[in-house]
């Protein structure tokens, strides 16, 4: 495929790996302990496993798979709310595919569908709006999910519904925002990270400026990266170069897509439609201040949370789950006592086993060949 295969070239990869090895050999820190680099975004986690990137890196470099899989960090209580909405006979509930399997305290959307709820997979919120147009006698609810990547498309759909005067459409808003989350990770007392690979799609919307505090205040390097394997490998190289040179900067490897100032039109739509919540609950990480958004008062009539009475209960994560420690890079997935025993992709207990982007699921499915060999 043109414009894709170029970023999957194994000869270029081999050259980069050599350069990374040379950098590591020249970095004193690498002789004391492994260098821990967190890729924030689930898309990167997927690429890393899909192309076997971990196994190509020297053992002194460890990749920590961060919280950037929006499906994984969805708390059980919110899934219960989804099921409650979806099981109303007047509702058509629409969702992205990979949210179907996330376990609630009683059931997932997949199970609710099997029990008779009208739940439909869509690829865009605009598809959900189209279903609303075609079913004026039903209430169509879109499960708004994701970071700043998907936030604008939900916002634009709400604005479109407003323009058309559609009244049977609403959004169950679970959009979350990346910066407070990174802050929460950086503030955690057991932090064990040296640098970040920054999210490409989120940054395409918000730009690179919002990350400056990571370099300025926390003195950690970050490289905003694309999703092809050469992108990720080059970003690892750029991060290591900063560490070797003792710098902490926000660099942009993905300049072909990410403008430093972000996408103005998308940001305007986001600003117009949403406001920050005081706090939002994350699976594995607990409550994080200002980490979620909800629809503004002016769009309350599109807000499923206000339209329907919801159970809105907090459900504690299973006690033995170590998702939080995995998310923060404190432990590797297979160190969790539930990994691969009580918690598997068939019966996920913890959030990270749910989506193929979740780090536990990714380890389980694609296997950290190097990691598991060293884990025994």
């Amino acid at each position: 495929m043109k414009y894709i295969d170029e970023y999957r070239d194994r000869d270029k990869a081999a050259v980069l790996v050599k350069e990374i090895e040379a950098l590591v050999a020249d970095t004193p820190l690498a002789k004391e302990r492994p260098i821990n680099i967190m890729e924030v975004c689930g898309g990167h986690t997927h690429s890393i496993f899909r192309y076997g990137i971990e196994g190509m890196l020297p053992k002194e470099v460890e990749l920590v798979h961060g919280p950037g899989c929006p499906v994984c960090v969805l708390p059980m209580g919110r899934v219960d709310d989804c099921v409650a909405i979806a099981e109303r006979p007047d509702v058509i509930f629409t969702t992205f595919g990979d949210a179907m399997r996330v376990p609630g305290s009683k059931k997932s959307l997949m199970q609710a569908k099997a029990d008779g709820a009208d739940i439909r997979m869509v690829y865009s919120p605009m598809d959900a709006l189209e279903i609303a147009r075609k079913n004026p006698d039903r209430e169509v609810v879109f499960f708004g999910l994701g970071f700043e990547t998907t936030m604008p498309s939900t916002a634009l759909t709400v604005l479109q519904a407003e323009r058309e005067g559609i009244t049977n459409f609403s959004v169950f808003c679970n959009h979350i925002t990346i910066v407070p989350t990174l802050k929460a990770i950086l503030e955690s007392p057991d932090l064990n990270l040296d640098a970040f690979i920054g999210p490409g799609h989120v940054s395409m919307v918000i730009g690179t400026a919002p990350y400056e505090f990571i370099a300025n205040f926390y003195k950690k390097p970050m490289v905003v990266s694309g999703f092809e394997p050469l992108d990720v490998l080059q970003s690892v190289w750029m991060v290591l170069k900063q560490i070797k040179e003792g710098r902490a900067d926000i660099e942009n490897q993905y300049a072909r897509v990410v403008p430093d100032e972000g996408n103005k039109a998308a940001l305007e739509a986001v600003e117009k439609v949403y406001e920050l919540r005081d706090f939002f609950e994350w699976r594995g990480l607990g409550s994080i201040d200002h980490s979620g958004v909800k629809l503004r008062e002016a769009y309350a009539h599109f807000d499923a949370e206000r339209k329907f009475a919801l159970p809105n209960l907090q459900v504690a994560d299973p006690a033995a789950c170590q998702c939080g420690a995995v998310l923060k890079g404190v432990i590797k997935p297979w160190r969790c006592p539930l990994f691969g025993t009580a918690c598997t992709p068939e019966t996920p207990l913890g959030a990270l086993m749910v989506s193929s982007e979740g780090s536990c699921s990714a380890y389980y499915q694609y296997g950290g060949v190097k990691a598991q060999a060293g884990a025994a």
Binding site: R10, H46, I53, G97, P229, S355
Partner: protein, 355 residues
């Protein structure tokens, strides 16, 4: 074929209404007319024509093709019923023919049981039945018995078909997933994932238009050629639901071996790759309806490849990997990027990723 003769010709019934109603499932004249009009008319063979409760044939008519019986069944519920490259009827014939053929059997007779949702048009039913008849003719099998049920609206999705097949396994041929040995070579007969991608596109809910067609085809001819060229072939599997990844995992698990494939040698059409990129799917798990994975001893690999490539349904054949010692049941892939990943069984359905 040596089938017991039907005593005297009979005039076939005719349906004169445009859609199927519950009356056509009632067991009376309407049902007989439906069966005659749609199925007997299309399938047209001596074993079916008397419409006894069973088809009858001489054991000798089977035994001339082999020394063991192969017997299989499969249900088809594909949506949409008609898709680029085929329809549910062709699929129902080819699917069961292939399930027989990968056991080394010569496919001979099929049954056809249909469950019809009331309201389906006769035209559609006739079209599907003709398609089955054509596929059966191409594959050299006869549809010799069947069953028809009509159910209430909503009790099934338009049309479900179950076919059961009987074949004879050639003397001396023993194939089995458990027979793969370290050192063996793994081949496929062409581009992977076409059927799965074609069906997903044909459903129309992703607003993607692609020229991808289902690869739906009966593979026993190709398998004949392969077995002639590589008589010690260990295992064949048709890579239907769950795709190549799933059948390789089944072979690795049954034979307690490890299988490694090479991404650069695994043939996937550019359009299918692009389709998967957009939707966040993995083509290794997409269904095929005309592709097999073959495990052959290394010394027969080249002749197997040449024989497969010489067959019209194997032009794109490729050696994609090897069977190795190592962690039993483990399937890995050398990625195009130079890394290595595990190719596991799919847990449930493949779900598109959010970002």
């Amino acid at each position: 074929m040596n089938v017991m003769p039907f005593p005297r010709p009979r005039r076939l019934g005719k349906v004169n209404v445009p859609i199927v109603t519950l009356a056509h499932g009632g067991g009376g004249k309407a049902m007989k007319d439906l069966i005659d009009d749609v199925f007997v008319e299309a399938f047209d063979n001596a074993a079916l024509a008397p419409l006894e409760d069973q088809a009858r044939f001489d054991l000798a008519s089977i035994a001339e093709f082999g020394d063991r019986l192969a017997f299989t069944t499969d249900s088809f519920v594909v949506d949409p019923l008609i898709f680029p490259g085929g329809d549910i009827g062709k699929l129902a014939v080819c699917g069961t023919v292939n399930d027989l053929a990968v056991g080394g059997a010569r496919p001979l007779y099929l049954s056809c049981a249909v469950i019809i949702e009331e309201g389906v048009t006769l035209d559609l039913l006739r079209q599907i039945a003709r398609s089955m008849a054509e596929a059966a003719k191409d594959a050299g099998v006869q549809i010799v018995t069947g069953d028809t049920k009509v159910v209430h609206k909503g009790a099934c999705d338009k049309l479900f078909i179950t076919t059961t097949g009987i074949g004879a396994i050639r003397e001396g041929v023993t194939l089995g997933a458990h027979l793969a040995r370290p050192g063996d070579t793994v081949l496929v007969n062409g581009l992977l994932g076409d059927h799965g991608a074609a069906i997903l596109c044909a459903r129309g809910d992703m607003a993607l238009e692609t020229p991808i067609e289902s690869d739906c085809a009966a593979l026993h001819g190709l398998i004949d050629a392969l077995l002639a060229a590589a008589p010690n072939t260990r295992a064949l599997r048709d890579a239907t639901r769950g795709g190549l990844a799933t059948v390789l995992n089944e072979i690795a698990a049954a034979s307690e071996t490890a299988i490694e494939i090479d991404e650069t040698r695994t043939p996937i059409r550019e359009e299918v790759k692009g389709f998967c990129e957009i939707l966040g799917l993995d083509p290794l798990y997409l269904a095929n309806e005309g592709k097999i994975a073959a495990v052959v001893p290394a010394e027969e690999a080249e002749s197997a490849l040449a024989a497969m490539q010489a067959h019209p349904l194997g032009v794109g054949s490729s050696i994609i990997g090897t069977v190795n010692e190592g962690e039993a049941g483990r399937v890995t892939m050398k990625t195009v990027f130079g890394g290595r990943r595990i190719v596991d069984m799919l847990v449930g359905e493949q779900l598109p990723r959010i970002c």
